[in-house]
């Protein structure tokens, strides 16, 4: 009896999976993390920093222009300002402790690409692609949330559009859509 139930259940699920995977309307849904906004160890608000106080993205994410990884800033960067500003707030104390002890803050990753995808921030930043193009209006977020698909079709459509009709201020885009652009 149990075996019978297992069979029916697995058959149903297999069918459901098959429908999902082979209907183009749905297959992008698999692995789509849009709306993912995990709780972070520190309630850091991009709205306060990037919008209200107009701190440029690259002040903290200074690696974005230099290499493939934009990087979460080291706690010492936070302390550049927070040595003075709101220095006794509980979250800031956490940061100070991190710098003092050398034990870093463990943030939860929001935007994640598969292991077989190579994305280089510097290439995009150097061409003038706005951070918001991929990460959404981060400057309005109190807690960072994924707002874009980040599926391959989404990447490729932008590469095609920008190459065909470069946005203002961008020239010689020539964004490749070869497999080897991202997969190697």
């Amino acid at each position: 009896m149990k075996l019978h139930f297992a069979m029916v259940l697995s058959a149903t699920l297999t069918l459901a999976a098959a429908v999902t995977m082979f209907d183009p309307k749905y297959y992008a849904w698999i692995g789509d993390q849009t709306g993912y906004a995990p709780v972070q160890p520190i309630e850091y608000s991009h709205k306060v920093h990037a919008k209200d106080n107009s701190i440029p993205c690259e002040y903290c994410h200074f690696s974005a222009r230099r290499g493939p990884v934009a990087g979460v800033p080291p706690a010492s960067v936070c302390m550049n300002c927070h040595r003075e500003i709101r220095k006794d707030a509980p979250d800031i104390v956490k940061l100070r402790k991190a710098v003092e002890t050398g034990k870093p803050i463990e943030w939860v990753r929001v935007h994640r690409l598969a292991d077989f995808v190579r994305f280089d921030h510097s290439a995009h930043v150097a061409k003038g692609v706005a951070c918001q193009a991929c990460h959404g209006p981060v400057e309005t977020m109190a807690r960072v949330e994924q707002t874009r698909h980040m599926s391959m079709g989404w990447c490729v459509s932008c590469h095609r559009q920008y190459t065909a009709k470069p946005p203002k201020g961008m020239s010689d885009v020539n964004a490749r859509v070869e497999c080897s652009t991202c997969h190697y």
């Binding site: 297992a6 069979m7 259940l9 697995s10 058959a11 699920l13 297999t14 459901a16 999976a17 098959a18 999902t20 995977m21 698999i30 692995g31 993390q33 993912y36 995990p38 690696s63 230099r66 290499g67 493939p68 990884v69 990087g71 979460v72 800033p73 080291p74 706690a75 010492s76 960067v77 991190a98 710098v99 002890t101 050398g102 034990k103 870093p104 803050i105 463990e106 943030w107 939860v108 990753r109 994640r112 598969a114 292991d115 077989f116 190579r118 280089d120 510097s122 290439a123 150097a126 061409k127 490749r176 070869e178 497999c179 080897s180 652009t181 997969h183 190697y184």
Partner: protein, 973 residues
């Protein structure tokens, strides 16, 4: 990278499907259905991953961007210059330092594999006492106590190490020794060089290993010395000799040897003689040369020749060639016998080589080991004279011929300490094991040649609770300073004043030295006395007077290119690196000539028993090797480890005990008392990567006449006579789609020696896994790059051709036509790319590839062990089971250069992208670049008259072009 360690160790494939095969079909389908559903559901939930930035980020560090540090290769005593690639704080690759005066950018397979030792999961994580973990404080207290006891009792303190050429280390050791009334420092190397030093002591009064200058020589005659493969400083010698040969077509090389060595396969002329005949031949050559030059003394003429006419014929030929050569000459031999070495010294002296090709004034400082000293130390230990024994950087329990005697002697020492970073046969014997860090975790120094000082700098904090020997010596002698401070202090007082720019400030000098990895300073030349002619007749008489067994069989022990002394036996990549000649992986063998095999009825893989004169015997599987001397059995050392770790234990057999101790020195050859088939033991299935050795007349490896350079008509034989022109033009694909670039490579087969450094470099760069011997036997090895080796001609003196083979990146690619899912396609850079995430594993592409360069992941071959994963190259995707892979022409390096150049608003420069194989090649045989750019080096070379493509008649239009190897012709005499 990372073999599934446990699986490799047991010889089992990376995973088994036993469970699946025993299931009923229905149950199987249920499980599959449920798992698909589970997979779909789990796709909805984000995997929770962390981002952990630095609390305080070092300013020089950018995540995802590699930092390079100059250092010294820890692989062997040659101490080549190395650059360490450090990504996100983890060293992931060693490359040759192009700026280094000796190795000039080359790095051998051992050096390439050294980084894997850092992530060896079987390293010691802290000190231990009799195998039980202990603390550094406890170990220090006990050892310091024993040291003070020895001071009181006036018993010996012995430091037994491998060669440590660094001047600061030497000074530190001297300081340490000076504190004890009875102290001795004994140097022991797995590779003995004492006979060379002894011969120079006898002849010139200086006990040195000269610096041999192959780049100065127009004719090299080598007796057994495998100078391109394993002898002394192979990377340095390969750099020298390949550049010399490329510059001058007149540079010639004659090899006299018993086994088919890597060097022998590259010689212009090769003679096979057994080791004892080589000694005779050297003597005969010397006599003939001095007679011809009219320098023979009556003393010399009185020596009676006792050698065979065959030896005399070879000697006459060599003497004629040496005398006829108008340029500079060089004679080298690796025979571990002071008398024989003296003859080589005399020959070099008679030919006026000293000061030109043999540099005695600024000698090599590598390989300072002394077997006689170790023999005397063992005696002292047996008598109970030694209170404290500290062993570092050598493994006599494995490589010393009388390992058992050594072990018993160590047991008699009250306080024995070993400092190896891994457990080995020797560390098991000692009471204390105070592990050193890996060389990439500690400060060190080296002086490979007189006046060339090299620094080894740590590139990460020690992963485990380890301390370097130098730091330990400082601690045990009660000095409160680190070796880093000691090293700087020593350089300030001893090295800096000799430097040309000594007027400046030391801090700047030190920083510059660190940045470059080495400095060259004025070294006072060694005082070389006049040649003492008197040593020659006695040496001659000694060699000539030896009893000869006319039809006896001899044995010869050698170091293999892949493992050498076997110190890195626990490194799966080196175990799986095919021997350049036999193509055997995972083990050693006894090489025997086809004629001997026929005579004794031995077939491939059959176990034979080789008995030495002193009664010791060894059972070893036989490999029938063309080009082998018919009366000599050659066996590689360094195998048969018992305490190397799960990967290296029990791989091959240890032939070390066959070596005889003559006059306290190891001799790696001797008369075989017996060579017989070991009955009732099934033949050993060698794990070979190439099982067909013959070209069968096929036009795969081109050969050109060396002297016909620049004349397109004559010259090379591509061998496609008989292939009609139409067939060559036949094309299924139509015109190739134009691309922005066409990345390609030119491989000069005349320079390539087959040393396999490129194979190891590729493995480490591209996360290529090792799969273990069973899988290699199934031809499932994963090497992206292999070196095909072909034998031609008769079995006694075959011609050998090496051809590096990897994905040819064909314009008309056979693989692309058959892939049902477009997982292998051409991109706009002219590359044939493999898209792992598209691949469904049909293997059609591999079946359709005429070059057989595609590799399929039958299992998840990557390491499950966390330590190994630390060493993966993060720029290259780790391939999973069921996916095809192959050479990408290091696309990660191309992409990195493309992005960098685009960010800077320029084009990629020629030479900006160097593939891993090209970078490591000690012979500079590989050139990479854009074939479409007419000014690139690669495009110019591709137009050379020697250029050809492999299997040209198939019209695949490969992006890899080869330059034909020159025909090896006899040296003019």
């Amino acid at each position: 990278m990372g073999a599934s360690d446990a699986a490799v160790g047991t010889g089992k494939p990376g995973g088994t499907d036993d469970a699946a095969t025993s299931l009923k079909r229905r149950t199987f389908l249920q499980i599959i259905g449920a798992s698909v559903a589970a997979g779909a559901l789990s796709g909805c939930r984000p995997p929770r991953e962390k981002i952990i930035p630095y609390a305080k980020q070092p300013p020089e560090l950018t995540p995802g961007v590699a930092n390079w540090y100059a250092s010294t290769c820890p692989g062997c005593s040659a101490a080549c210059g190395a650059l360490v690639k450090v990504m996100d704080g983890r060293p992931i690759k060693l490359e040759g330092n192009p700026d280094h005066p000796l190795s000039r950018g080359g790095l051998c397979a051992i050096g390439q594999g050294a980084v894997a030792g850092l992530y060896d999961p079987y390293r010691r994580i802290g000190p231990s006492r009799e195998g039980k973990p202990t603390t550094w404080a406890e170990a220090d207290a006990a050892i310091s106590d024993a040291l003070s006891r020895s001071r009181a009792s006036k018993r010996q303190v012995a430091l037994l190490t491998g060669s440590m050429s660094g001047s600061a280390t030497a000074a530190l050791v001297a300081d340490f020794m000076a504190a004890f009334p009875q102290a001795r420092h004994v140097i022991y190397d797995p590779f003995p060089c004492e006979a060379v030093r002894e011969a120079h002591r006898r002849a010139y009064g200086v006990s040195v290993v000269p610096r041999y200058r192959f780049d100065q020589a127009d004719l090299v005659v080598a007796f057994g010395a495998d100078f391109l493969g394993t002898w002394l400083s192979p990377v340095e010698f390969t750099k020298q000799w390949s550049s010399k040969r490329a510059a001058s077509h007149a540079a010639r090389h004659i090899q006299v040897e018993a086994r088919m060595s890597l060097t022998g396969t590259n010689a212009d002329e090769r003679h096979t003689l057994s080791p004892s005949e080589q000694a005779d031949c050297l003597a005969a050559t010397l006599m003939k040369v001095v007679t011809t030059l009219g320098a023979a003394t009556p003393d010399l003429a009185s020596v009676k020749a006792s050698w065979t006419s065959e030896v005399q014929t070879v000697a006459d030929r060599l003497a004629d060639a040496l005398v006829a050569q108008r340029g500079k000459r060089l004679v080298v031999t690796d025979l571990g016998d002071a008398a024989v070495q003296t003859l080589a010294v005399a020959l070099n002296d008679a030919l006026g080589n000293v000061g030109t090709t043999v540099d005695l004034e600024r000698p090599s400082r590598q390989w300072q080991g002394s077997d006689t000293q170790l023999a005397s130390l063992v005696g002292a230990m047996q008598r109970g004279d030694v209170e404290v024994l500290i062993i570092h950087g050598c493994n006599p329990a494995h490589s010393w011929p009388r390992g058992k005697e050594f072990a018993d002697a160590v047991a008699k020492v009250p306080c024995s300490v070993a400092t190896g970073s891994v457990a080995d046969e020797t560390t098991r014997l000692t009471k204390w094991h105070c592990p050193s860090p890996h060389a990439l975790e500690a400060w060190s120094d080296a002086e490979p040649a007189s006046g060339i000082h090299s620094i080894g700098q740590p590139v990460l904090r020690p992963l485990y609770r380890t301390r370097s020997l130098q730091d330990s010596l400082l601690a045990w002698s009660g000095k409160r300073m680190s070796f880093h401070q000691y090293l700087q202090e020593h350089w300030r007082t001893a090295v800096f004043p000799k430097a040309a720019k000594a007027s400046g400030d030391f801090a700047a000098f030190w920083d510059e030295a660190l940045e470059r990895g080495w400095v060259q300073v004025e070294a006072s030349p060694t005082r070389v006395g006049p040649f003492r002619k008197g040593v020659v007749p006695s040496a001659l008489r000694q060699v000539a007077g030896r009893t000869k067994e006319p039809n006896g069989t001899e044995f010869e022990l050698y170091h293999s290119v892949a493992l050498r002394d076997g110190e890195a036996a626990n490194n799966p990549w080196l175990q799986e690196l095919p021997d350049p000649i036999t193509k055997i992986t995972w083990g050693n063998c006894a090489c025997i000539a086809p004629s001997l095999a026929t005579r004794l009825g031995i077939s491939e893989g059959q176990w034979i028993e080789v008995g030495a004169a002193d009664g010791s015997a060894l059972a070893v599987p036989a490999h029938v090797q063309v080009g082998q001397h018919p009366g000599t059995v050659s066996i590689a050392l360094g195998y048969g480890r018992t305490e190397a770790g799960p990967i290296g234990n029990g791989v091959g057999v240890n032939a070390g005990h066959l070596a005889a101790l003559s006059g306290g020195m190891r001799r790696f050859h001797g008369q075989a008392r017996s060579v017989a088939v070991a009955s009732n033991r099934p033949a050993f299935p060698f794990a070979k990567t190439q099982i067909h050795d013959d070209l069968d007349g096929r036009p795969i490896v081109g050969e050109a006449d060396r002297h016909a350079h620049g004349s397109p008509e004559e010259g090379h034989d591509h061998g496609h006579a008989g292939h009609e022109e139409e067939r060559r033009k036949a094309n299924l694909w139509g015109k190739p789609i134009p691309s922005d670039r066409r990345w390609g490579m030119v491989i000069d087969l005349d320079r390539c020696t087959g040393c396999s450094a490129c194979v190891a470099a590729c493995d480490i760069e591209n996360n290529v896994p090792a799969v273990g011997p069973d899988e290699v036997r199934r031809s499932r090895d994963m090497h992206w790059m292999r070196i095909d080796r072909y034998f031609e001609g008769d079995a006694d003196s075959p011609t050998v051709r090496h051809q590096p083979m990897m994905c040819q990146h064909c314009a008309n690619a056979s693989c692309e036509s058959v892939c049902p899912v477009l997982a292998t396609v051409h991109d706009d850079q002219g590359l044939n790319v493999q898209v792992y995430n598209r691949c469904v594993g049909t293997r059609y592409c591999a079946n359709n590839c005429p070059y057989k360069v595609r590799r399929f992941n039958w299992f998840d071959n990557q390491a499950k062990l966390a330590a190994r994963r630390l060493g993966l190259n993060p720029s290259v995707t780790v391939r999973s089971r069921g996916v095809m892979e192959k050479c990408s022409l290091c696309i990660q390096r191309i992409q990195e250069a493309r992005i960098r150049s685009r960010n800077e608003g320029r084009d990629v420069q020629d030479g900006e992208v160097r593939t891993a194989c090209e970078q490591s090649c000690p012979a500079d045989a590989i050139v990479f670049g854009d074939l479409q750019d007419p000014n690139s080096r690669v495009a110019r070379l591709a137009k050379d008259t020697r250029a050809f493509s492999a299997l040209e008649e198939l019209n695949r239009q490969p992006a890899i072009r080869y330059l034909a190897r020159s025909k090896r012709t006899e040296v003019e005499a």
